[in-house]
């Protein structure tokens, strides 16, 4: 009888039994890719949802970022394990199953990246118009997206990481600076970490946050950044080391989204909640900060918002282009001709859409719900792939504690995303 293909040589180590090499502090502190991952999470979606949560429930829904973050982390981890085992890019998973999934991914990638980036440019435009009212929304957004396009067309991957590290630190400083001027209620914030149901209206926000945190196909981006960094090894020990390092990296990226939610909730809780205002305009919210915390609070808030939106817009394009290059088996490289062509193709519709002037706060809540609908298909395909026996050392195995935890995290992530997708399909397409 043929031995089933387990992806393991005879006498190879048992799954999840190897220890990774210890990382020096300097290696851990190089958070480049983690900051790129963080930029996907910290955009207008995070800001819209965080401020709406703060305005309605104070800090009480802070826990959702961390619970959903575990699911997001597990999903990224699946794509990384697949990449390390086979050296194949994420879209190969879908091609393995059936070409129809490739078509699904092709459409999902284009729709999500166009939609997602347009929202970010619209948010940038609102900030620009806030400072200089004579600059129209269309012009402000087009300028922001043009800067992003030039940056990516002329950039190299390493430079992009550096810019994102600086951008992330700056936006954290801006948003925390703004919130600290108002005052953060640390006790309330700590209580918000305990899962609770604060009252009517929390569930739609939770669903939108799921769309933002689990983030559809964006969770597939990490292996592309690994290719750019040449993080791959043929040796099993090398793979184990890379997985360990990568987990810290995207763990930091996801954690940053939860951390950034705190000042947003603090700001909205202080200025909007007492009056029952639901933030539907960043400008309005930022102006309301001024009487409580002074003019600098408004400036810092707007600065943080601009940075978050711009880096997220760049992130959406980047992810979209990588995924499309992968679908067509083109080289995964930022400074390649197909990448440049795809970037220009994303620039055109996401800028033209600015003419629609749909409020990015409102639209992001809707779009996040849409993402939650798109995702379960991706999650189920990944689950099918990573549970196959040829996953070798990285396969599901409950024999070690690490293996059991991984199974639990994977199952949790998939069940959560399927549940959220099911609820959102009803909310978006059936009940309305």
């Amino acid at each position: 009888m043929d031995r089933p293909d387990t992806g393991l040589e005879q006498g190879a180590p048992r799954p999840w039994s190897l220890r990774p090499a210890r990382l020096g502090l300097r290696t851990v502190m190089l958070l480049g890719t983690g900051s790129v991952i963080a930029s996907f999470y910290i955009g207008t979606g995070d800001i819209s949802i965080g401020t709406n949560m703060g305005a309605q429930f104070g800090y009480r829904l802070w826990w959702t970022y961390f619970v959903l973050g575990i699911a997001g982390w597990a999903l990224i981890d699946m794509s990384v394990r697949y990449f390390l085992q086979f050296g194949k890019t994420p879209m190969s998973m879908f091609k393995d199953v059936h070409p129809v999934f490739t078509l699904y991914m092709f459409l999902a990638v284009i729709v999500c990246a166009t939609f997602g980036s347009y929202n970010q440019w619209a948010a940038c435009a609102m900030v620009v118009t806030g400072y200089v009212p004579d600059v129209s929304i269309e012009l402000g957004g087009a300028l922001a997206s043009l800067c992003a396009l030039l940056f990516l067309l002329t950039g190299a991957y390493k430079r992009l990481e550096r810019v994102f590290v600086v951008g992330l630190i700056a936006l954290l400083l801006c948003l925390f600076g703004s919130a600290l001027m108002i005052g953060i209620d640390w006790g309330e914030a700590a209580r918000g970490l305990v899962p609770n149901r604060p009252g009517k209206g929390w569930r739609p926000l939770f669903m939108s946050n799921a769309g933002s945190m689990i983030n559809a196909w964006l969770i597939l981006i990490y292996p592309y950044t690994m290719i750019e960094r040449r993080w791959f090894s043929d040796r099993l020990q090398g793979k184990v080391n890379i997985l360990h390092r990568a987990r810290i990296d995207y763990g930091w990226g996801i954690l940053a989204a939860g951390v950034v939610a705190l000042p947003l909730m603090a700001a909205a809780s202080a200025v909007a909640r007492p009056f029952g205002i639901l933030p539907r305009s960043y400008m309005d919210l930022s102006i309301l900060l001024e009487p409580l915390a002074g003019r600098w609070s408004t400036y810092l808030f707007l600065g943080g918002l601009f940075l978050a939106a711009w880096t997220a817009g760049v992130g959406w394009w980047l992810c979209g282009c990588y995924a499309l290059l992968d679908i067509f088996n083109l080289p995964i490289k930022l400074n390649s001709r197909p990448m440049r062509a795809a970037l220009v193709l994303f620039f055109i519709p996401s800028t033209v859409m600015l003419l629609l002037r749909i409020n990015p706060v409102y639209q992001m809540l809707l779009f996040s719900a849409f993402l939650a609908v798109v995702f379960p298909v991706i999650g189920l395909v990944m689950l099918w792939r990573i549970t196959r026996p040829d996953m070798g050392y990285f396969r599901w195995s409950p024999r070690t504690a690490q293996g059991a935890v991984i199974i639990a995290a994977d199952v949790f992530a998939i069940l959560l995303s399927v549940y959220i997708g099911w609820v959102q399909i009803g909310a978006l397409f059936i009940r309305r």
């Binding site: 194949k88 040449r230 003419l355 629609l356």
Partner: protein, 203 residues
């Protein structure tokens, strides 16, 4: 991989941009004044999209020894009140406690669409202890969303993106091999110049 560092020029450039921000004023009404011992401040945006809400925030600081009853009224532009949707009260009396700061907001004042975009002359009136003052408040409307909010805000961009996917479908296959979209890609090869930590074996 070479060590990444946050280069000083990029940090300086970022700091420069942040320092430039206050050179511009955020477009908003910020008016302060006093009614005897009660100081008032008004904060509100001075432009809005049609079909979007604005909120007007009033802050009262009572520096006197006694509680003061402050009348606050929101006056809509004459003959143009129907250009806005507002269901709240347009006037109120706020008890400003001695030594304390009190906030009140006129919320969710929505500018209608279907009327010419213009500058509207609102005003706020304050009255306390026989002293009355009027704060003019001009709001400019700009074009709002081209589609109604609700599901159309999702469907219209969705439709644009789906139509645009045809352009991607025409361009990208020309750069790729025939039938590449159906074939899984080649496995990545281990790089020669990879970082040292990758292949380290724990002691």
């Amino acid at each position: 991989m070479p060590r990444q560092s946050l280069r000083i020029p990029s940090v300086c450039a970022l700091a420069g941009v942040l320092l430039l921000i206050p050179a511009f004023g955020v477009a908003a009404l910020t008016t302060t004044g006093s009614l005897g011992e009660v100081a008032y401040a008004v904060y509100a945006p001075d432009w809005t999209w049609q079909k979007r809400d604005i909120n007007v925030l009033v802050v009262l600081d009572n520096h006197g020894p006694r509680t003061a009853d402050v009348y606050v009224g929101l006056v809509f532009p004459s003959r143009k009140a129907d250009h806005f949707v507002y269901s709240g009260d347009t006037e109120t009396v706020i008890q400003a406690l001695p030594g304390e700061s009190t906030r009140y907001a006129f919320t969710n004042i929505q500018a209608r669409d279907g009327v010419p975009r213009q500058i509207y002359d609102f005003a706020l009136t304050f009255s306390c202890g026989g002293v009355t003052t009027r704060v003019p408040y001009a709001v400019r409307t700009i074009r709002g969303a081209a589609v109604n909010s609700g599901q159309w805000a999702l469907y219209v961009p969705l439709a644009i993106a789906l139509v645009w996917s045809l352009v991607f479908a025409c361009v990208l296959p020309r750069l790729a091999g025939r039938g590449a979209w159906r074939r899984p890609g080649e496995a990545v090869k281990s790089a020669e110049d990879r970082e040292a930590w990758i292949d380290q074996t724990p002691a």
